[in-house]
Symmetry: D2
Subunit: 436 residues, 4 copies
């Protein structure tokens, strides 16, 4: 097997070869768009630089085919080891120039040899983004009623179960620190399945009490993210159901705790962009899990259902950035979409493209004109201004940013052309379908 | 016209006459229930006393037939004046023994002569509950773009419109103080109808800035309630969309501001009882607007769609009371349901019955056993305990509490039997249908 | 006052003058896009012709500022008469080249002199689209319990109320026939506000029985549209709540009855594009009411909240057209969005633009490639193909189609530049705000 | 091991022993209720007989602890074999007198020896209710792209996958016939996860074509049930998303196909009782899967979240029965709730109790009075009549019906007292937690 460095070079060469074929058509279309934008006063180079700086972290768990409670149908060539996952992230980054960060999940990504894992990350050019704890499964003592997380982890009525959940989080922080991460994402399965099961206030008290012990143990420079979700796996109540609860928890925990927004974790019809604005106002927005959703789900490709909402969220981010609200804490942008039927890497490529596109369109919005329309109560004009950004075909900008990094013009097409999956399948074989 | 006192006496006599007919059957059924409850250790007399102490305020605006944007079909005999509204509230209280408080709405209930209004209230035995400001209509300067509330009141981008909204609220507080009220309810129409119209953060800043001036002017002993609502009349965003925002606003305004929960003001599937628990935990729950809702509406009879949810909310109130979380501020319980097709007073009688029934059932829950089940993670048993309260037919308790007050055993039936509406129609005539 | 013909000529001249200023920039951008599309095999001229043939009917009721049950804030210059409404439609058509059809609403648009109204329509170049009956208000006998529509119209338990509703619909058909319309749209307010009020089956039986009498009286060549809506003004049940009921009713009524889809009349998360596909499959799709919606509302500007959904609906229409499913009945495309805070004509211009844009993007989808991807279960590629259509900035195509008709390049901007509203305000004055 | 017959007798004796302790208190309470009901004209004996005739089928898959995609935490003593599942159903029936029917799921319950399975069912006094096919998992050829059900079963674009799905259903029908079942329930996982993946009309065509082959092969006297669900496991569209589609499919398949309503398979805010009424009107209602739901889930204990809705559904069933709409096809009443955190049998006992209670309350509704109120447009009175049924504590009726059958007065309490689970755990051991 070749070294990660050699693999990177080989991959880059193949990506460059594919890219060269579309270069002429791209240059013409980009040139036309750049000229139009320049005439409207857009600083195209600054825009390209900002786009080039965006980094969309890849969730390790989305590198394999997702599943539902009804079954899972994996593809050939999915990664089986942490090293293989890192390989896939490096390949994604070679294609997009924007995916050079992985978000690990413990215990799924528990490295046997931490130093070797860190070395492999570095050799692969992959940074270790926010790291995730997992208290929704319980490999250790599932059948011990006092210690199991069946009835919750940090909120459990049983002290022993809570202590184990705190310990697990402390372990994840320790691991993350050794791997170069700077943040812990705490998504909790805790909640109740029917009225009466939970004493709502008591469960929230216990949750805060448990997480405080984790927050106090954060290494210097670290952040902790609370992630709200109204339901699933608990189907009647969650201990952290919405942004209001998430903010409440973050404030009680302390200044290094911020709120993470997963686009799929909201009630029907929720105005998520306003939630983002309010968390920005409170300077407690930590980052995102990007995905899309049609019903109560949270794993569809980002931008595949409601691309305009994704754009509106990015508009709030651009506004918050312009107003200095993220100066002291750059946002962590992560994908959290684990698709059941697409090639997992293709799904990540499509999510990444949608997220970058929404950012580009948001950057194209004439913010000064928008503020003026808002101040004049000119609703129709304000809408025109936003829609003008959204309706602009900003794809040539993304291609140009990628071209300058040596990445692919069309990442999904390139992924297919270079035959990455077929090669991986030949090397890695086929995982078993589950739910059989 | 007879004096309010004489009218009260006459009404009470008619109600008592009707009640006497069903007394024997009631006594038998109540006796059987009381015996069963006593065997289970329930202190029936204490329970009756607690039930008798509940006061459900009547919203003045619900005394006339409600409407939709499509039309309104009023009944004969609806009240046209503030005095007539007070008469109706006194009549409701004569029937239920629980409705001796009115919640006024300004400018709809603007009294010409404040002293006379207060005197009439007192003579009628009707207390002045929380008073409501109204900045969603604008009789003063609707066509003046700088001053109109078309684009919002306390959040408006135009300073003059905001100033008028603050002034209106100050006027309402002053009026309420002279009428004996102790609380201002601020429900805001402010929001936006499409993406881009509002600068979310700016609108919230202006809202808080405006309301702070109202909060600072509250008389001693007064409270101010912020009332969240996700949408309507604004259909894309509201400045106070949910409990998280409401709590945020209340905290920024100061210690006399609390959150009011309207059961109809939540997104689909929201767990309202948990919201109530969280506001209790923060000691910021101020009171309720009771109604029910099937879709995005907020005007159906309390308990007519989801009576179990009403019960669960009351369980949280009972728990909060038991835990001392409302000691420093008794909750204001109000109806806010303005029915389009029922006789308005009949609708209030049905709402009142449902609210009292839910409280009675919540009081019947064995809280010690529930806590024990919760502490043991015994979800099935916890459910049994709650359901046992809900499944108990607690109506005999309500009847007994009313009987002891000289109110009706069956308020709705008595309302029909005494012919209140027909008599009112004869005196008051018929309002015009609108939307024609 | 000038004749309609003279007014049209004058307006056209002003629009042309404004358009001439942006002509050069447009030609460059259009030329670049046309070249790119041609290289991909798109027949640009055929596409322009198809776009030019689209006609988006204007609802007469949306020419004035909409309201909520909380109030209404009209603008200066709104039309007060049927003739003024026709003037506004003619002006919209001068700007867009796509709005030359009005959808009337009776009794709101009841013409005193039908022949004069028809003459004015023809002189104005405005066609009479589907005509709407209104049984949700009741100007005739609102206080007569046996005849009023308070408890429903065609489904009412009282025979007299039903008979009046049938008569009203027959009158509307007669009127429409004399004005040149070819279709009746029946949106019903009928439903119930709480459990128990309606015998669901009986109410549906009566509805079908009533509407059958209308269907039987349709003139030759006419269609009748049933329009489903889950709630409002009835808040617990509607007699025609969803597409399933609408199809059931249409089939029982007969072959000239089809279903009309209003985008705002669905439960949260409904997959509307699939509903459209199923109605197309049954050859029972009649047409659309276009708008957008965030919560339970139905009056936001088309494409302002979920433009991708609008595109997906248009993709189904394009597919149905390609498969010959609308050959025997061209779809009626109408706006039904009555905005509360925008200039009503500006809102219609924005809706029209969004609808045309979505159609253009749908026409750009490579349907042969899409079918191939679907047949290969290649979900990622299928998504790429759809998104490529949506992400293309098709606005130059719309501008070119307008340019060739002598309409405006940028209708909203032109509307402001020609000063239409200010002039109308000077002539027409200011309507009263309501809900005061 | 004892024979099923001996086990039944032993269990019955233990249940009877427990029941005897509460007999006196029950008799007093029942007597009081019966006297009150008799005074109101209720034929208590007829009511008891109707209640005693209700049979609530137990789903075999709910006898083990349910799971989410995040994990599963089984209990000790869960059944591992078909015989053990039948034992559990027999035990449930011994406790409730209403659960003597099992609904099997193939391949999960594939019997090695069909004759032995049938014999065991008969010896256990357990009938074989509707049998379920499963095409959402794929143990046979998951990795064969042309044959796998990854992209759908009966709707799959690939012919081979469809043929396998048809064959599986034919096998299930054959198996069911040999086990004494009379109905096949077809719940389909088929759908799409993102726009573009499915040709909606083509997928529906293929679905109907495949199922027609199953329908044609039904043995005499058999029914086939189509079960709609808006989403999950497909998260953008389902081939049978709602009752409208389900009815459309059932009609195209033929007269032996009816629609099955699962209470958890509806969009937010759907009026399920109206759906039931409409299917009854069309004489196409086949049966139910009872459960409850807070969000987008479908596995909570029946009646645990919205007991009033369960009651309203039962009111429609009672009305349909009274109107002769189920004469030619008695409804199949099944539980489909697979709880994650309760003892599975306790959960079924709670669901059964809630379903029976809702039926009893529905039977108590004075239908003649309700019809009269509906015919008079007396909405308030109609509500009173329904609520009177719901607010009545009908539990003594259920206990009496059970007492007369020798079942338990309080099934859940009795289940705990007789120590069934502990004994099963001792015999059966502990299943592995999954998702680890």
């Amino acid at each position: 097997m070749s070294s990660p460095e050699a693999a990177r070079r080989a991959l880059a060469a193949r990506v460059a070869e594919v890219a060269s074929r579309g270069a002429a058509a791209h240059q013409e279309e980009f040139g036309q768009l750049a000229a139009r934008l320049a005439r409207r006063g857009v600083d195209v180079e600054a825009l390209l630089a900002r786009l080039a700086s965006l980094r969309i972290a890849v969730p390790s768990w989305a590198l394999g085919t997702g599943g539902t409670r009804f079954g899972r149908f994996p593809e050939a060539g999915e990664p089986a080891t942490l090293f293989q996952k890192i390989d896939d992230v490096a390949a994604l980054d070679a294609l997009t120039g924007a995916n050079g960060e992985v978000s690990l999940h413990i215990p799924w990504d528990e490295p046997g040899d931490v130093a070797a894992a860190r070395q492999y990350l570095e050799a692969s050019g992959v940074a270790c983004g926010p790291i995730n704890s997992n208290t929704f499964q319980d490999g250790a003592r599932p059948n011990d009623p006092r210690a199991s997380w069946k009835f919750g982890s940090v909120s459990n009525a049983f002290e022993e179960a809570r202590a184990r959940a705190v310990d697990h989080n402390l372990h994840v922080v320790d691991l993350g620190a050794r791997l170069g991460s700077r943040a812990l994402t705490v998504w909790l399965p805790d909640g109740s399945n029917h009225p009466g099961q939970h004493d709502f206030r008591g469960a929230l008290d216990r949750t805060i009490d448990s997480l405080r012990r984790v927050h106090e143990a954060l290494p210097p420079g670290w952040s902790m993210y609370t992630e709200h979700k109204p339901f699933e796996p608990a189907f009647y109540s969650s201990v952290n159901p919405d942004w209001g609860a998430s903010l409440l928890v973050a404030r009680e925990l302390g200044e290094n705790c911020r709120c993470l927004v997963d686009l799929g974790h909201h009630l029907p019809n929720a105005n998520i962009e306003q939630v983002v604005a309010m968390l920005l106002r409170e300077r407690r927005l930590g980052g995102f899990h990007f995905n899309d959703s049609s019903y109560g789900d949270d794993d569809l490709t980002a931008g595949s259902i409601r691309p305009y909402r994704l754009f509106l969220v990015c508009c709030e981010l651009a506004a918050g950035e312009a107003d200095g609200l993220v100066d002291d804490h750059p946002l962590d942008l992560m994908i959290d979409a684990s698709h059941n039927i697409k090639d997992p890497m293709e799904d990540i490529l499509q999510s990444t493209e949608a997220i970058l596109l929404a950012h580009a369109q948001a950057f194209l919005v004439d913010r000064a004109a928008l503020r003026a329309a808002q101040s004049a109560n000119d609703a129709a004009l304000a809408q025109e201004i936003l829609q003008d950004g959204f309706r602009t075909d900003a794809r040539p900008l993304l291609r140009e940013a990628r071209r300058r990094k040596g990445a692919a013009l069309e990442p999904l097409r390139a992924f297919r052309e270079i035959g990455y999956r077929a090669e991986a399948a030949a090397r890695r074989g086929h995982a078993r379908a589950t739910g059989l």
